[in-house]
């Protein structure tokens, strides 16, 4: 009796069969042996016994035989599987080559979708899930968060403390080590033309101990290099800085006006306890001393540094929290000397986005992840449509193969392998996309977070593999189901033309779904763009997009009071500083990109100063919520440079000098408050001190915002910078660019400033708008995020729509041929195809608008001056989307109309 080859038997029931067969063979063996012995004259009974004895333990033998047989079969089955998959892969590869167009669209669509998600997952991982790199046992590392009640703010908290506060905490028994650090800031390194800006962070020597980091090169600084009052000028540079300056270790570098010796290099990716990028760490005592001399040692009022601590092994979080709270309570009592109900300390996780004050970017990153997820969903729907379309196109081929005996499960498996193959290609594209997009997303959405080297990590690779194959499984589902359910006789008969209604309806539904989702994102984009526009159209009193701010940290020079002898002496620090800025302005206004430049003491959005101001004849000025009035010392070109309108009277001139008549200019709000009934021009005001002579108001200017975009009335006045009555207030320069290319202007200005004197520190020159960025961030971010991902989604869905229509036109060539032959006009056939497209878009847009209207309340609180259901946004998006969709439909429609009836009919 012939047996089927063992290979093709299913595993279920296989073992039992193996077993039976082995037993049968052994029994046959015994029987042969008995026959043999009987033939030699042994009596049958004895022969039987001898035969069994000779064979040994039959049961054991059978078990052994079965075991090795099973092992062998498993191995062979695996090999069989592999060869099957290899076959399928070859098949998939051939298919992909045959349809390069569709394959590229699928791979590109999936690649973009997966890539976007990979980047976002990586960022979320860094911010929400991972402790800072190089921090072993990070669960024992905490960031103390100090909370107390204040009169102005109510219950409020922060990570900030000061030198005495840090020392109190460092004495706590619960911690094995406590560190203090200051957030990095740009500081000048070097002098003159070679000067550069570096991100410097002050850190206590214990920072590296607390985190547990080891230097990549050299050493970190030691506790005895970080003692008050000024530490030892040593520095540790970041890995990135070291790579750019490979011979820096052992060198001396000039930071501001102190010369530091570089003693070590931090490990790659190390950014301390937070994620802000740092170029260089210096002892915090050295930095504090540079900032404020010895004052910091006793200063309990300034809150300038954050702390991070490692718990002792035998101490619980609760115990440590209790001890830290007691210490903090003492600190608050001695500092403020007023009863503050229960100040307390929260020991927050060192994972950046956890804790009482999560980084705003974390929320943003989660949003982005969600939006990226929607894009991937759309990409999936699109790819499913394409695969399904292809499966339908191949229905005849599938039917032929089915009738030749391939099993449906094998066929479905083949389709799955095919999508896996596509997914793998897509994963490769995704990683490439992610590598490029990482930088882009970092710059556009998440400034101030150090870029990690995350994309290459094993975690990220695992994730991308999971996403890719999950995506493949989902997208392969529909075509696989389709393949299984192909109706043999119909497909063979119809030459692959017949498409059942449900199938095409499924594809239409997927297309509607894609359009709807991208409409939702686009509406989001519209709402944020409108909000941003609204915010940006608030008059600020200055042409902020054209302005550049330049600051130079000149050696400390207290400004001598006006009229004193020193002010006249040409070699006093003040005179030297004024000379520097005079020369700087002279050089800067010669630059071709520069329209004008001004030197001023108060800088809008940066700094403002208030001091005694009175109007003779009025007891007191009404107090506005915003405080003030605020003073500013400006030169003759200030208002023209900023673009601030002079409403009445005049601006300052060069004639308003130190020794000429004292004058002042007030802003609109101050004029309205101080002289409600009369013209302020010619009025007398006393500035700085009652003993000083009257300053005459010579002009009224429009309000310039002092601090924020969304602020109320501000009372402000201006005096000529030469008549500035205070010792303090360092001037800076504001430059007006001729063009919108302010970044370039900023570079030119920096270069010009660097050559003013050979000992000029690195000038900090930035487009003015960058100072506004944090205030506009939420709207700008929303606008960019939804615009980028919304457009991506929309493009993908339009590709989907186009593919769908183009395919159905190809399918219906025959039908169109007949129609044309029967006399249907071109317009009729075009209308037929367009109608299908319009129907999908209409449903998609309508559905999308409804979902958007429902979902938009989640972002309502983030919008400015427009409602989440702003009709103009919805209408605009609907119109634009429909117009584009119509364009995407026209090409296939036109192709349908140009079908040659003769050819189409002959094709069968």
């Amino acid at each position: 009796m012939p047996r089927s080859p063992r290979l093709l038997r299913l595993r279920i029931g296989r073992d039992a069969q193996l077993d039976a067969e082995m037993l049968e063979e052994i029994e046959a063996h015994i029987a042969f042996c008995v026959d043999h012995l009987v033939a030699r004259g042994v009596p049958r009974g004895a022969a039987e016994q001898q035969a069994r004895e000779r064979f040994g333990d039959i049961e054991e033998a059978r078990r052994q035989l079965c075991k090795s047989a099973r092992r062998r079969e498993d191995r062979m089955q695996r090999r069989e599987w592999m060869s099957m998959i290899r076959q399928d892969l070859t098949f998939a590869f051939r298919q992909a080559r045959r349809e390069v167009g569709v394959t590229s669209i699928i791979v590109a669509t999936l690649g973009l979708g997966i890539g976007a998600n990979l980047v976002m997952l990586d960022i979320v991982d860094r911010m929400l899930l991972s402790p800072p790199s190089h921090t072993p046992r990070a669960d024992r590392v905490v960031r103390p968060w100090f909370e107390r009640m204040t009169k102005q703010l109510g219950q409020s908290g922060s990570y900030s403390t000061n030198w005495p506060g840090y020392n109190d905490l460092a004495a706590a028994k619960s911690f094995s080590a406590v560190a203090a650090y200051e957030n990095p800031r740009e500081m000048s390194m070097g002098r003159g033309a070679d000067a550069s800006g570096v991100q410097v962070s002050g850190a206590s020597a214990s920072l590296f101990t607390v985190l547990g980091a080891r230097p990549a090169r050299g050493r970190f600084f030691a506790p005895d290099e970080d003692r008050p009052p000024q530490g030892i000028p040593v520095a540790v540079v970041s890995d990135g800085y070291y790579r750019a300056h490979p011979d820096i270790v052992g060198q001396r570098v000039m930071v501001r006006d102190v010369s530091f010796t570089v003693v070590g290099v931090a490990p790659a990716d190390f950014t301390g306890a937070e994620l802000r990028p740092v170029d260089m760490w210096i002892p915090i005592t050295a930095l504090l001393h540079m900032d404020s001399g010895n004052d910091y040692v006793e200063d309990r009022q300034s809150y300038i540094m954050s702390t991070v601590a490692r718990l002792r092994d035998d101490v619980s979080l609760t115990q440590a929290t209790a001890e830290a709270s007691v210490i903090y309570r003492t600190h608050v009592d001695t500092t403020f000397n007023l009863p503050s109900p229960a100040p307390r300390v929260v020991l927050a996780s060192v994972i950046p986005a956890r804790g009482p004050d999560p980084h705003a970017s974390a929320t943003v990153a989660l949003w982005l992840l969600g939006v990226a997820g929607i894009v991937l969903l759309i990409a999936c729907a699109n790819v499913a449509t394409l695969l399904l379309t292809r499966a339908v196109r191949r229905s005849q081929e599938i039917a032929v193969r089915l009738s030749l005996g391939i099993s449906r499960s094998r066929l479905a498996g083949q389709l799955v392998v095919e999508s896996m193959f596509l997914a793998t290609l897509a994963a490769v594209v995704a990683v490439t996309v992610a590598r490029f997009a990482r930088g882009f997303i970092q710059v556009v959405f998440l400034r101030g977070i150090a870029a990690g080297d995350g994309v290459a990590g094993t975690r990220a690779v695992t994730v991308v593999a999971l996403i890719a194959f999950g995506t493949a499984a989902i997208t392969a589902l529909a075509p696989a189901l389709f393949a299984i359910s192909v109706d043999l006789s119909n497909s063979l008969k119809s030459g692959g033309r017949a498409v059942t209604d449900t199938r095409s309806r499924l594809r239409s539904t997927l297309a509607v779904f894609q359009v709807a989702l991208s409409i939702v994102l686009l509406v989001g984009a519209g709402l944020f763009v409108r909000s941003l526009h609204e915010v940006r159209s608030i008059p600020l009193g200055m042409d902020i997009d054209r302005l550049v701010l330049a600051r130079v940290n000149l050696p400390d020079a207290p400004r001598e009071p006006v009229g004193s002898q020193q002010a006249v002496a040409s070699n006093s620090p003040t005179a030297r500083r004024d000379a520097f800025w005079r020369e700087a302005r002279r050089r800067v206004i010669l630059l071709p990109n520069v329209a004008d430049a001004t030197v001023a003491i108060g800088i809008p959005f940066r700094s403002s100063i208030a001091f005694l101001f009175s109007v003779p004849g009025r007891d007191s000025l009404p107090v506005l919520k915003s405080g003030g009035p605020y003073a500013n010392g400006v030169d003759a070109s200030y208002f023209s440079t900023l673009g601030t309108r002079v409403l009445r009277g005049r601006a300052f001139t060069d004639a308003d000098g130190a020794l000429s008549q004292r004058v002042a200019i007030v802003n609109q709000s101050l004029a309205a408050v101080a002289w409600p009934a009369r013209d302020p021009i010619g009025a007398c005001v006393r500035i700085g001190s009652d003993s000083l002579p009257c300053a005459t108001v010579v002009g009224v200017v429009e309000d310039v915002h002092r601090n924020t975009v969304l602020e109320g009335q501000q009372m402000q006045y201006y005096v000529p910078i030469a008549q500035w009555p205070l010792r303090f207030g360092a001037p800076a320069m504001i430059v007006r660019s001729r063009s919108d290319a302010v970044e370039r202007t900023a570079l030119d200005v920096r270069r010009a400033l660097q050559t003013v004197a050979s000992d000029t520190p690195y000038p900090l020159v930035d487009p003015f708008a960058t100072f506004l960025d944090p205030q506009l961030a939420s709207w700008r971010l929303g606008a960019r995020m939804f615009s980028v991902f919304g457009s991506l989604a929309f493009v993908v869905s339009m590709i989907g729509l186009y593919g769908l229509l183009a395919y159905s036109v190809a399918q219906r060539r025959h039908e169109f041929g007949i129609r044309a032959a029967l006399g249907a006009g071109v317009d009729h056939i075009v209308a037929l195809v367009l109608f299908r497209g319009v129907k999908i878009v209409a449903f998609g847009v309508a559905f999308g608008l409804v979902v958007a209207a429902l979902a938009s309340r989640w972002i309502a609180s983030l919008l400015f001056r427009i409602g989440p259901r702003d009709v103009s946004v919805y209408v605009t998006i609907a119109v634009i989307a429909s117009a584009v969709a119509l364009c995407a439909s026209i090409v296939p429609a036109w192709r349908a109309a140009s079908v040659d009836p003769m050819q189409a009919l002959r094709a069968d």
Binding site: M1, P2, R3, M22, E24, E25, I26, A28, H29, A31, F32, C33, D35, H36, R54, F55, G56, E60, A61, Q64, L65, S68, A69, R72, E73, M76
Partner: protein, 115 residues
């Protein structure tokens, strides 16, 4: 049975294949054939022999088939495949060269030592 030689590793496959080179046989037949050809000096444990047979079958060197014997018993008959024949040929020539060399060396020890 007691003075049977233990089989050298690697030779069993070759011996089994050799036994089948004259025509298909069942397991008991092979074991009888081996015993008879070596005058009882080469003995193979029956269950081990089946292991070998099954392995050879999996590697495609032999093919098995249930058949009826002359006296109407069902037996699983093993026969050489083309691959099996080729393998046997290669194994035989290797073995002959190998054993000749080994024999030559091993017989050298009979020479009297100088001294």
């Amino acid at each position: 049975v007691d003075d049977q030689l233990p089989l050298l590793k690697g030779t069993v496959d070759m011996l089994v294949l050799k036994s089948l080179s004259f025509g298909p046989m069942h397991g008991f037949g092979i074991s009888q054939w081996l015993e008879a050809r070596s005058s009882g000096a080469l003995g193979l444990n029956d269950s081990a022999m089946y292991q070998v047979l099954h392995r050879l079958e999996a590697r495609g060197f032999v093919k098995a088939e249930w058949r009826l014997t002359d006296n109407n018993r069902r037996g699983r008959y093993y026969g050489l495949t083309h691959a099996g024949r080729a393998h046997l040929k290669a194994a035989t020539s290797t073995w002959l060269r190998y054993s000749a060399s080994v024999t030559e060396i091993m017989t050298l020890t009979a020479r009297p030592s100088p001294g």
